[in-house]
């Protein structure tokens, strides 16, 4: 069944005026807790500044996000063919997809401070049915179909991650949870710490500045989400001149049930069911000549991302073939075209 969303851009834009402070309020307590816990474990990794000279051959980059198009639009053949010619940066949520296809990314980025969910992208050795029943985040969503059979897929990713961990480099944000840090600490992956921008370090009483003073790791603007953070690594850590994106939808396919969207459960816990639709918007992608729908969070991510792209010299090519990421400074291209021209 197709969702019948209207365009709720006006309401969503109004929400976005308050969005920075809302995100700050609900994220920062968890971030602070994790940052201070991680102070005891800094020696398990190095500073991300160690990777500044990693891209000696000035390769261009392909950033792999975990959006629904990643599995719907199969680009794996192209990716496999050209992987070695580019810097491949994976979000934590797309690592399973890449490793399942025997592609080892140059860097994996993780940042979300959630205490129990993020570890699942690396395989949670303590996962059991009781924990799954407590949180249906993975089973109800369209993010990674293979995660629907949770115990089975968790076993698979655990095995895959352990198998490849020796070859993996992980950009580990100091905001990462205790569970993620413990999991990575006990693996063979090489870890590279970084701090997130939480406020302007030049301002009096800046939390970012106080965190930096404690661990001295570089501060990186995440753009609000792991996909944008991965792009930022390509742009400002590896200095790639051209950056391709795949799996960066910032939206859902129009036939996705609203219940399978990322923020549905939280909205349901606060608002009446009949009021939830207003937090979603139907958006037309003129290049693909197709409608998608998005929620207030992904639309905010898109806004932030477009702003980040505006403030840089590198060129960004959206090769996702789905979703709502279009606009000034975003070139739309197929991955094949990008790879042919971008070497």
């Amino acid at each position: 069944m197709t969702n019948s969303f209207s365009s709720n851009n006006k309401f969503i834009s109004k929400l976005h005026q308050k969005f920075a402070s809302v995100t700050y309020k609900n994220i920062v307590p968890e971030v602070k807790k994790n940052v201070f816990y991680n102070l005891k474990h800094l020696k398990i990794g190095k500073s991300i500044s160690e990777l500044r000279n990693y891209n000696m051959n000035s390769k261009n980059a392909i950033v792999v996000g975990g959006g629904p198009s990643l599995r719907k639009i199969d680009q794996i053949k192209t990716l496999k063919k050209y992987a070695k010619k580019f810097i491949i940066i994976s979000c934590d949520g797309s690592l399973f997809y890449l490793l399942s296809n025997k592609i080892v990314p140059d860097l994996v980025v993780t940042l979300d401070p959630h205490p129990t969910r993020i570890i699942r992208w690396f395989g949670d050795k303590t996962l059991n049915l009781k924990k799954i029943k407590k949180d249906n985040y993975f089973s109800r969503q369209d993010i990674e179909k293979k995660f629907n059979n949770e115990l089975k897929s968790n076993k698979k990713i655990t095995k895959l991650f352990d198998h490849y961990s020796k070859k993996l480099k992980i950009a580990l944000c100091t905001s990462s949870s205790k569970m993620v840090v413990q999991r990575l600490k006990n693996s063979n992956a090489k870890l590279f710490w970084w701090n997130p921008f939480l406020d302007d370090p030049k301002k009096k009483g800046s939390l970012t500045k106080s965190i930096y003073k404690k661990n001295k790791f570089p501060i990186i603007n995440s753009g609000g989400n792991v996909g944008a953070a991965a792009w930022m690594m390509a742009d400002s850590l590896f200095n790639c001149k051209k950056i391709a994106l795949i799996g960066m939808d910032f939206s859902y396919y129009i036939d996705t049930p609203i219940e399978s969207t990322q923020y549905y459960d939280i909205l349901k816990s606060i608002f009446k069911k009949k009021d939830i639709n207003i937090f979603f918007s139907k958006i037309y992608n003129p290049k693909l000549k197709k409608y998608f729908f998005s929620d207030y969070v992904y639309i905010w991510y898109k806004k932030c991302f477009l702003e980040m792209v505006r403030n840089t010299e590198s060129k960004t090519y959206n090769c996702t073939k789905g979703g709502i990421l279009f606009g000034k400074n975003i070139k739309l291209q197929t991955l094949n075209e990008f790879c042919k021209k971008g070497i």
């Binding site: 308050k18 995100t23 700050y24 609900n26 994220i27 939480l198 930096y212 570089p218 995440s222 608002f271």
Partner: protein
């Protein structure tokens, strides 16, 4: 805080502004800020990488 009360009635009837449905939802949204309603991380405008706080 002490409250200063006038001893007269104003001529105009001051009506409380009626909130629209969207305003109510917006208010509710703001009040629920302790829940994970926002992004995965904070976004700060015009920042990229700050290597050592000197930039």
């Amino acid at each position: 805080m002490s409250l200063l009360k006038g001893n007269y009635k104003v001529k105009t009837d001051i009506k409380k502004k009626k909130l629209s449905k969207e305003d109510i939802l917006e208010e509710k949204f703001e009040k629920a800020a302790s829940k994970r309603l926002g992004g995965s991380m904070v976004y700060i405008k015009k920042k990229k990488i700050n290597w050592d706080l000197k930039d």
